[in-house]
């Protein structure tokens, strides 16, 4: 037996078990969460937290506000990690494969306790070490480098899968089981099930009442999931995949042949969903696509495909037009749910090296090149770049084309 370095191929297995504590469990403002946080607001807050007396209303006190109750039992989070790594090398390290499984059971997570009735009379949200999340996944990568005569080739690929679920949390004791977050991914979203648009007033009268403000023909019709005759937030079900992709992957090749070099790289993500933001745009962070609101124009897709009395298409892209977002239509629902997975050609580069220009004082490493970033994206979502997700009117991902000369003197 020789040493590992001398081996032609080897397999290495690593294993890691650990218990890790984390005391950075809340935001900076919540640093002293074991103490209560009481403030005397003063001034204009009389109406919100205080009272005034007197025939001339001058005997006034602004009261006090409890932002947080003392919680002396708070402790740190604990995370139980198990890692299992597999490291394989073949053909004198020209082919490498790494596979890394992990499991992380994080317990005593400091999070909001939801299961407080209004009758308790507590005025600030209560948090405690009540959460437990089990995360699992694996990371893998594959590298292959080889020289065939004049051709040099390096290919690489990676693939990551990560998922998690709530094992424990303090949530309301919902009578409808589908509202429970227990067992769901922490980034799972809930929303209403949109059936189609209302045909006419007759249909509205004969359907379960929808509890999101006024609605007319051409507005979205939702499913009454629990069948109680009213559509409200109790009819939300887990929709689509989590907001954060569970699968991320990439692959690419770099190669060189004589004076030419060529490289490209793809990346992609899968098992991810997002909701189109149908509210009115007000900033880059709230870049919804509602037409006419805030003096916005309408997107082409809305102009092409909307419900109107003359063309009452109950499956149109956009419901009834309005000059302000209709509350009934901007509820998070399957109407706006889209598959966020995509595969993107991230970069392509083609170069030609200038090795024969030494007499002009130009050294090795000088080259002509053509390159591009984000030239192509493959996705079932076509309206805008899927990586922009919900923010249709946000700042888009750039597509760039470069041609250049690189000279080294």
């Amino acid at each position: 037996m020789g040493t590992i370095e001398e081996c032609d191929q080897y397999v290495q297995i690593e294993r890691f078990l650990g218990l890790v504590g984390n005391d950075a469990i809340a935001g900076r403002a919540d640093r002293f969460y074991f103490l209560s946080d009481v403030s005397l607001p003063g001034g204009a807050s009389v109406i919100n937290s205080g009272y005034r007396w007197g025939t001339s209303f001058m005997n006034s006190y602004a009261g006090y506000v409890i932002n947080r109750y003392a919680n002396p039992d708070i402790t740190w989070e604990q995370s139980e990690k198990i890692n299992l790594g597999l490291d394989m090398n073949f053909m004198r390290e020209s082919l490498k494969f790494i596979l890394d499984f992990y499991q992380d059971r994080r317990s005593r997570i400091y999070m909001r306790r939801e299961n407080f009735p209004a009758t308790s009379g507590l005025e600030a949200p209560i948090s405690g070490n009540v959460g437990e999340v089990l995360s699992k996944g694996f990371e893998s990568s594959l590298d292959y480098t080889k020289t065939f005569g004049d051709l040099w080739l390096s290919a690489r690929a990676n693939f990551t899968y990560a998922t998690n679920k709530f094992v424990k949390l303090d949530e309301r004791n919902f009578p409808d089981q589908y509202l429970k977050r227990l067992g769901a991914n922490i980034n799972q979203q809930w929303g209403l099930i949109a059936e189609r648009l209302f045909v006419d007033e007759q249909e509205i009268r004969n359907s379960p009442k929808q509890d999101f403000g006024g609605y007319l023909a051409g507005d979205i019709k939702y499913k009454d999931v629990n069948g109680d005759g009213i559509v409200n937030s109790n009819d939300r079900v887990a929709l689509g995949f989590p907001q954060v992709p569970e699968i991320q992957y990439g692959f690419g090749i770099s190669s060189a042949y004589k004076m030419f070099d060529f490289a490209f790289f793809f990346n992609g993500s899968a098992r991810v969903s997002f909701f189109i933001d149908a509210t009115a745009a007000s900033s880059n962070d709230r870049a919804g696509i509602a037409p006419f609101a805030n003096r916005r124009n309408a997107l082409q897709i809305i102009g092409d495909d909307y419900w109107s009395e003359t063309n009452p298409n109950v499956h149109a892209f956009w419901p009834r037009l309005s000059t302000f977002p209709v509350d009934n239509n901007i509820q998070q629902s399957s109407w706006w749910l889209r598959d966020g997975s995509f595969l993107r050609l991230k970069s392509v580069e083609l170069g030609y090296s200038l090795r024969k220009l030494k007499r002009f004082g130009i050294k090795e490493g000088s080259r002509f090149y053509l390159s591009t970033e984000n030239p192509l994206v493959f996705s079932s979502f076509k309206l805008w770049d899927p990586e922009m997700r919900d923010k249709g009117l946000g700042y888009p991902t750039n597509r760039r084309f470069n041609a250049g000369i690189q000279l080294t003197f």
Binding site: L35, A44, I47, W53, Y61, P117, G213
Partner: protein, 356 residues
């Protein structure tokens, strides 16, 4: 060597002590609830906090006065007019998940009255700790807060019938079985209020001074008591089989007393007489407009004196601040947001009492 050991020990000890101190810092200006109940100046804030849960009927957006048919005709308001809560309810837009004017849930313009109840409990548990208050003063404030507790509970019963009485104060570390309490029978709720009121009345001042107008004194307390007993005796709460005959709790017992009890009327009548007596003894009487009418109405007064007089009596009863018919004025008017101002009395109850 011994000296060295002692030195090391001393250093370790000093470090340990100072380290403990070092770690034991509390951020500057940290205010705890106990600090509010330290001096009278701060305790005023606590009293103000307890009063704050009186519903803001003076604000158009939050008032229950819009719960009437006469407002529905405003065609310029569509169903998306979010803040006119009373009108939304009348348009059939009441909501299960976010109730309009929800006094139970504290949603959509409703004051969270259960927070008010807890606030009152916190006040009663801590006010004795104030250093610079006389015993009599503390007693008087306690009586006011007991009255508030009873009044908030009454508002809850008025809106929801059987309600939860959180007699043990909920704490952040309370477990679900301590938090999710059953709704009590309506008669139990009334008894709970009346016990509080009877405890409070002897400790209250008879009439507050002008600077504290709006606080609960004996005149107010007796009027509230009379109103509560009046509601309790009324056919809606007293033996209402028609509405509540099948409104049963988990054990199959009715939430409302289903047997009509005429003695409830007797109790109500006694309380009303008592309230009128004390009010009249303190100069309260039915409102009469005695000043000159406004210039633009003088013409109408000469032509149609009697009717105009009635009109002025009714109008100025609402508009004339702190008039002699006002028993308990809502004094927490919103100086900073006057567009929504209505300035109404909480209870024009004296008139109701005299009317029958």
């Amino acid at each position: 060597m011994k000296l060295f050991n002692t030195t090391v020990l001393a250093i370790v000890l000093i470090t340990a002590i100072s380290c403990k101190k070092y770690l034991d810092v509390v951020p500057d200006n940290t205010l705890k609830v106990e600090d509010i109940y330290d001096t009278k100046t701060q305790a005023w804030n606590a009293l103000a906090r307890a009063y704050n849960f009186i519903p803001r009927d003076d604000d158009t957006h939050l008032t229950t006065w819009l719960l009437g048919d006469e407002w529905l005709g405003r065609l310029d308001y569509n169903d998306n007019t979010g803040n006119l809560r009373g009108m939304r309810i009348m348009r059939g837009l009441q909501s299960q998940t976010s109730p309009q004017l929800g006094f139970w849930s504290g949603t959509q313009g409703g004051k969270p009255l259960y927070q008010g109840l807890r606030q009152a409990d916190v006040f009663l548990a801590n006010i004795d700790k104030v250093r610079d208050m006389q015993e009599g003063e503390i007693k008087e404030w306690k009586a006011q807060v007991k009255m508030l507790k009873a009044y908030y509970l009454f508002l809850l019963v008025k809106h929801y019938g059987p309600v939860v009485i959180p007699d043990k104060m909920a704490q952040p570390e309370s477990q679900p079985e301590e938090l999710f309490l059953p709704r009590r029978k309506v008669e139990d709720c009334f008894q709970y209020m009346l016990t509080l009121i009877n405890e409070a009345i002897p400790d209250l001042t008879e009439r507050t001074d002008a600077n504290n107008a709006g606080q609960i004194d004996q005149i107010v307390a007796k009027a509230i008591k009379a109103k509560i007993l009046f509601f309790r005796a009324s056919p809606f709460f007293n033996g209402n089989r028609e509405y509540f005959g099948d409104f049963l709790d988990h054990d199959g017992k009715p939430f409302f007393d289903l047997d009509y009890k005429p003695e409830k009327w007797k109790e109500a009548l006694d309380a009303i007489n008592e309230a009128i007596t004390i009010a009249e003894a303190n100069g309260k009487r039915l409102y009469q407009y005695t000043r000159e009418p406004y210039a633009y109405d003088r013409d109408a007064f000469t032509r149609n004196g009697d009717n105009m007089k009635t009109l002025y009596n009714l109008r100025m009863l609402i508009c004339d601040p702190w008039n002699e018919e006002l028993v308990w004025g809502y004094s927490n008017i919103n100086y900073y947001d006057q567009e929504n101002w209505l300035m109404l009395p909480i209870s024009g109850f004296l008139q109701v009492m005299k009317a029958w």
